[in-house]
Symmetry: C2
Subunit: 434 residues, 2 copies
Amino acid sequence: MGKDRIVVGVIGFGTVGSGTVKILLDNRGVIAERTGFDLVLKRISDLDISRDRGIRLGEGILTTKAGDVLDDSEIDIVVELIGGIHPAKDFIIRAIENKKHVVTANKALLATEGNEIFREAGKHGVEVGFEASVAGGIPIIKVMREGLVANRILNMYGIINGTSNYILSRMTDEGSEFSAALKEAQKLGYAEADPTFDIEGIDSAHKLAILASLAYGIPLSYESVYKEGITKITPQDIEFASELGYKIKLLTIAKAVNGEVELRVHPTMIPSDYLISKVDGVFNAIYVEGDAVGSTLYYGRGAGDMPTGSAIVSDIVDIARNIRLNATGRVPLIRTAPSGLKVRKMDDVESMYYFRFSALDSPGVLSKISGILGDNNISIASVIQKGRRVGGAVPLVVLTHRAKERDVLGAIRSIDDLPVVTDKTHFIRVEGKE
Amino acid sequence: MGKDRIVVGVIGFGTVGSGTVKILLDNRGVIAERTGFDLVLKRISDLDISRDRGIRLGEGILTTKAGDVLDDSEIDIVVELIGGIHPAKDFIIRAIENKKHVVTANKALLATEGNEIFREAGKHGVEVGFEASVAGGIPIIKVMREGLVANRILNMYGIINGTSNYILSRMTDEGSEFSAALKEAQKLGYAEADPTFDIEGIDSAHKLAILASLAYGIPLSYESVYKEGITKITPQDIEFASELGYKIKLLTIAKAVNGEVELRVHPTMIPSDYLISKVDGVFNAIYVEGDAVGSTLYYGRGAGDMPTGSAIVSDIVDIARNIRLNATGRVPLIRTAPSGLKVRKMDDVESMYYFRFSALDSPGVLSKISGILGDNNISIASVIQKGRRVGGAVPLVVLTHRAKERDVLGAIRSIDDLPVVTDKTHFIRVEGKE
């Protein structure tokens, strides 16, 4: 056994930084009992070292200079918790070049620059831990890299953005509009002043890129992830979905199909009796189906100081275990399979669809619309036509059998051109058994 | 990096053995891509090597002699899948003495003889993998030992016996009697001809002993687990529970309370809107609450050839990763904490309770019963008294606030002695917010 103390430095003393530091201090004893070694927190850097975080720290731990962490020869593991691309990336690269192991929660950075970071880490023989980058405290990275290592991953569905899940849950429970639910989320601190990353599916897409590369042995390919946010979902859609036996969730989907992999983030209707449909509020869950293990699901808090800190510290322990035994690289960083799958073009994706057409309440409308759907190889599974007027027109709701995205987009273009159609057609992709 | 092939031998070619072998053969390529080394299955021993398992094996792999696996100097990892105490234990000890790492799914053996087995493994510097011993394919052992390593575990609730969960789900969905649901489970192969281990909570208690030792750093203490089966649950109880907003599940409970830990398995009423209440049929789930991570839940198949095989092979990979880097012992086997908690006596446990009294439909009955409850420090939260006669008497249902098990047992003794009480009182412990 190697050294019995592993020295840690933290860059970024915000929410997650505070949670991480609290755990390192409060649970130091129980972690040492479990592992047989001591985690020593040596330095914390942040631009603001005067604010009181309610944590009692020893003299000389706080510094405003990241360099005091990055260049301290005694520090084994650097924890990067400032977020964003720069200077986070520069700090991480400098830590790696200084032969320090890195732990980060920075999904945006990893999803976009991760291939380079992992390459650098490999070159310098250090580890990069990123458990906290996806789904907060849920140990989904470890599950994918180790727990399910024996499986080909068939598909993976995730609710991995707490903000949008909170907003959709609220809209579902209270029938409120998107904008009202967003405001509420902002008031409670669940959404940021600029909520773009969360509500437009960008944050989910970052995380999906990370999960998919682990599941399918492909490089991090954020640019290839199709993304669509929740801003266009209306209470009316949620009500129709419920009537049809579905819930609407912002779902990340990764799916192996005929030698390709689908990577997409969009509002999705899921059968209400599926376990993942019952994941509400700020909670996260990931459903993973493997060829051997079958259906599995992992559930927990996807954000917050302590849950994310739990993931950060589990990474620190993991890396520390390797440091002590000279076992760095024990579990390879994302490994690109020679037989790697290609990401499928969105046009080629097949799905079931929910359409909400806005049409004049005149005879023959359904026949015209269903004619166009048929011409585009889209067959109808069920129809709701209630004759209730919304803004002068009548909503006509159609659920389809499996159809091609390309055909669907074509059909909608034709349908929206019909004189009887009064507004742009809304559609939501549907998952579940056909 | 060390050797690039790790040699595996399997003892026991039954259901789980077949699943394990299938995965080792079918997913050999994808596992090698992920790990960078090759898992070679060299030998499989079973008393019956003539039966066709639908798996094509090379010449000379099958043998009837366990010794051909245990004493083969080329084999690195021995997988024990015969179950039971003897000769499984003897095989495992012999493998360990031969300096072979061991992977096993044998919860009965580990729960009762695990302390000795782990001690022997430690002495000989080999690993024992037991992911498959609890909750089949759900990687809960890895989650407890690694994913949540930063947390003090506050409590842990599990549905980890698929057979009894299937029976209770069936009783709930169809209003059937226990005996009918058991027969159905046996017909479908979900229950064995002798179902004692499953329906009496013994199997759940084995698994709880394993989980609790990981969560709380205590030795394996199967004898200290309180256990009670599901044989006395009636459709009537399930109906009353539903009326009160609860489901009845065979729950394993581990809970840290005032420096002690509760370890118990019994039918439990859980609020219907809890996620774990929605885990039905043969599925398993474990809810774990950590001081940092908060609420988490892990869900999947708890049995079956392929799900259990998934866990077995993940252990093989884990150990292989250590073999290659001389990192054996990287994650300590169950480590008994010096500050270890004591198991709380069942008499001292506090819980909410559901009582179903059978009493004559005469005035003053409720007052007599509630008087005795009051005398025993048990306060009533709600009452259902419907006046419907069942076997000449009227069921009176009472839900209590938090009370002590000792007081409850005392109260029931007094109540069952009342002349107006016509049958033994049924009670079920209740979890959830008070």
